[in-house]
């Protein structure tokens, strides 16, 4: 078993929490994990990514080689496309539809969605607004993880246990909110057919 996931977004969007849940879940399954992350200057509103590698064998490289990622999981649609060279031919693209527009030359949104849709295996969901509906837009990352969960070789229970473990020190309420977000993401992915963009 060998799974490579790139998590992408903009500094401050909570991609490391997704990575932490995956790492914790994988370790609890006695699997090996390597997970690289971005610290320092790029974190200030810039493009950030995390390479998560999970395997039952020894993992050497901290970085995923190009064309070896099984999935790109992005909290921002344009940032998803930045890592396309890493995706396997039959890999999955999963993203929030909500753009983070902190640059003056952000592309036309429709062009971004069109580009994503040229890949057969894609799931575009409105994770942020779903999370908001549940109680906090910050939980968008857990909606996305939920959407990705059915495509990952880690048992769902290990992931939800990891969510409990990681959010426990905040509060029971936050644990519940994130579990709900995870569940919602799963449901959205299962029912996903097509993403239609409306201006």
């Amino acid at each position: 078993m060998n799974t490579n996931i790139i998590i992408s977004g903009v500094g401050g969007q909570g991609i490391l929490t997704i990575a932490a849940v995956l790492d914790t879940a994988a370790l609890s399954e006695n699997l090996n994990v390597k997970q690289s992350e971005v610290h320092g200057m790029s974190q200030r509103g810039g493009a950030v990514q995390s390479h998560v590698r999970i395997s039952d064998k020894e993992i050497y490289s901290d970085l995923i080689p190009k064309e070896k990622a099984d999935m790109i999981l992005s909290v921002e649609p344009m940032e998803l496309l930045r890592y396309l060279p890493y995706l396997k031919k039959d890999g999955w693209l999963i993203t929030d539809s909500k753009p983070f527009e902190n640059i003056f030359d952000y592309p036309k949104k429709d062009d971004v969605y069109k580009q994503i849709k040229t890949h057969k295996n894609h799931i575009i969901i409105n994770a942020t607004s779903q999370a908001k509906r549940i109680g906090n837009s910050k939980a968008a990352n857990m909606v996305l993880l939920g959407a990705a969960s059915t495509l990952l070789p880690i048992p769902e229970k290990s992931m939800t246990d990891a969510i409990k473990k990681l959010f426990q020190r905040k509060s029971e309420k936050i644990v519940k909110l994130n579990l709900e977000a995870f569940e919602k993401g799963k449901e959205l992915a299962e029912n996903f057919k097509d993403f239609v963009y409306r201006e």
């Binding site: 200030r44 050497y60 190009k66 940032e79 060279p85």
Partner: protein, 536 residues
């Protein structure tokens, strides 16, 4: 049970478990999390391990040497360019030797993710003639700390432990071992070796040079250096994290002859054995072609040795599994490119950041003073060199804003402005300010004080609450030390202050004081109280 930790955290836990008594450091990406981990560690706290930030890397290393002098184990941590700042004590403590084990941890930043160059610290280790260790994974980083302190105490030398960004900032499961106790206080039997007047220094330097063969022997016997001779077509020498990229490509079941180097000076015997066994030798290393150059020295300019110098691997930037795969002839070029629709997303100052207000004020005066007069420094405000601000023209090293502005003023520039952060000011700006005060050079220094070392994650700044008294103590005229609050509503006022001080033909300091927006509100309260207590 494995512990999920960053390479930096593995190393920090390794140091605690190896009987560390104190860590000294100044924050700097990618090294910061090492010290932060020890600061957060309950074990470290209960053991009384020192972990407060130092003012700069030089003061940190000197303090670490002082702790070592008492017989205790100390560690000093910095990013690669920090070693430039500490190089004076670094070179000289190799000559004096140490007492308690002393490990110098330096994190290099190939690809310059958060740095102004990609210098390779291994050259410093060679320059100082001390052993260098280079872990290739998180478990290595943990295990090597114990070994590094032993090696340091065995040879009575500081040890350089080199990290790189990708290992510092990558997590994996690591097994921790039992902790050993700290050393007790035991002052040096002979203190003369620490008093490097020429007569003693010559003797000490002879002692250092005479250790060379023993250090090579130690590398040859090191459990961290491994030679495996198999197929003789292509031999591979790889070090540190480069080993991972080689293994990623060739897999466990391979037929290559490989020498993995994780301890320097280079293990001569193993290198010779690999060289004699193979038709070609590929050197894969992160950073400069350090090993490759030495091989060319051993075996003369030799077409049999390939790597970065031969152009088989790129000279600049960090390695990746794909780059290494290509050098091995195992991966083809990847056709898939980043789609054209994707725009660049460079880092930028946070919404509501006080630096932005300060830059906006300067920018308003640029039509009057010219657009080449602003000297910048290291910190978040370095982003003022990018659009949309485009305010600062220079960024060289910690503290250089003030001294470069001074030199430019000496050269005839009118309206030279230096902009520097609070922590960078106490790190290396104060001394330059004294130069300017001493000559009454006409410069305007803006200290953009956000009460934190913000870029690296808002660590405590030693400058907190002390900037005014430092500046006045250095001799800045109180009439030309002005405090402003960088907020949009104060824009006109700040522009006026700036215009007035630019017209003054002497040293002015404008302290722009507003806490970093990333500092949580409870911490802001703590900062306020701290400032108040300093004033009393």
């Amino acid at each position: 049970m494995k512990n999920l930790v960053l390479g930096n955290e593995a190393l920090a836990q390794g140091a605690i478990d190896a009987g560390l008594s104190g860590v000294y450091a100044y924050p700097g990406t990618p090294s910061t999390e090492i010290t932060e981990y020890i600061q957060r560690s309950k074990t470290a706290k209960s053991l009384g391990i020192h972990s407060t930030w130092s003012v700069n890397e030089k003061t940190a290393m000197e303090a670490a040497l002082g702790m070592s002098y008492t017989g205790k184990r100390s560690m000093v941590v910095m990013k690669h360019v920090g070693l430039n700042v500490a190089s004076d004590v670094f070179m000289n403590m190799a000559v004096s030797g140490i007492n308690g084990g002393l490990v110098v941890v330096v994190a290099d930043d190939p690809s310059m993710h958060s740095s102004q160059n990609e210098q390779d610290s291994r050259f410093y280790g060679k320059f100082a003639q001390i052993p260098i260790l280079e872990p290739s994974n998180q478990q290595d980083a943990y295990n090597m700390m114990h070994y590094a302190f032993d090696l340091s105490e065995e040879f009575q030398l500081p040890i350089l432990l080199r990290m790189v960004t990708r290992l510092s900032h990558s997590r994996a499961g690591v097994v921790f071992k039992e902790r050993r106790t700290q050393n007790g206080m035991q002052l040096p039997i002979d203190t003369k070796r620490f008093a490097l007047i020429p007569a003693f220094a010559r003797k000490q330097y002879q002692t250092l040079v005479s250790k060379k063969d023993l250090l090579i022997k130690s590398s040859e016997l090191s459990k961290f250096n491994k030679l495996e001779l198999k197929n003789s077509n292509l031999g591979i020498i790889c070090s540190g994290i480069a080993h991972n990229y080689v293994m990623e490509n060739i897999g466990e079941e391979n037929n290559y002859s490989i020498l993995k180097i994780s301890q320097y000076p280079m293990p001569k015997d193993q290198i010779k054995a690999l060289y004699d066994h193979c038709k070609m030798v590929l050197v894969v290393e992160e950073g400069y072609p350090f090993i490759e150059e030495i091989l060319h020295d051993y075996f003369e300019e030799n077409p049999k040795i390939i790597g970065k110098i031969s152009g088989d691997l790129p000279f600049t930037g960090e390695l990746t599994p794909n780059i290494v795969g290509k050098a091995l002839g195992l991966t083809k070029d990847i056709d898939e490119e980043i789609p054209d629709v994707v725009s660049n997303r460079p880092p930028q100052l946070c919404d509501g950041c006080g630096h932005t207000d300060m830059f906006n004020a300067i920018n308003e005066l640029i039509p009057e003073i010219g657009d080449k007069n602003v000297f910048g420094d290291i910190g978040c405000y370095a982003l003022g060199a990018l659009p949309p601000l485009n305010t600062i023209n220079t960024l060289i090293d910690m503290g250089a804003s003030i001294t470069m502005a001074k030199g430019a003023a000496d050269g005839g520039m009118e309206n030279a402005i230096a902009i520097i952060g609070d922590s960078t000011f106490t790190h290396s700006g104060m001394t330059g300010l004294l130069d300017a005060v001493y000559e009454n050079t006409p410069i305007t220094v803006i200290i953009s004080d956000n009460s934190a070392v913000a870029m690296t994650g808002a660590q405590d700044s030693s400058a907190l609450g002390r900037i005014k008294s430092i500046c006045l103590g250095i001799g800045v005229d109180p009439k030309h030390f002005i405090t402003v609050i960088p907020l949009r509503k104060n824009h006109d006022e700040i522009v006026e202050v700036l215009r007035k001080e630019l017209n003054f033909k002497g040293v002015s300091v404008i302290l722009a004081q507003r806490a970093c927006v990333r500092i949580p509100s409870n911490k802001k309260e703590e900062i306020k109280q701290k400032i108040a207590s300093i004033k009393n």
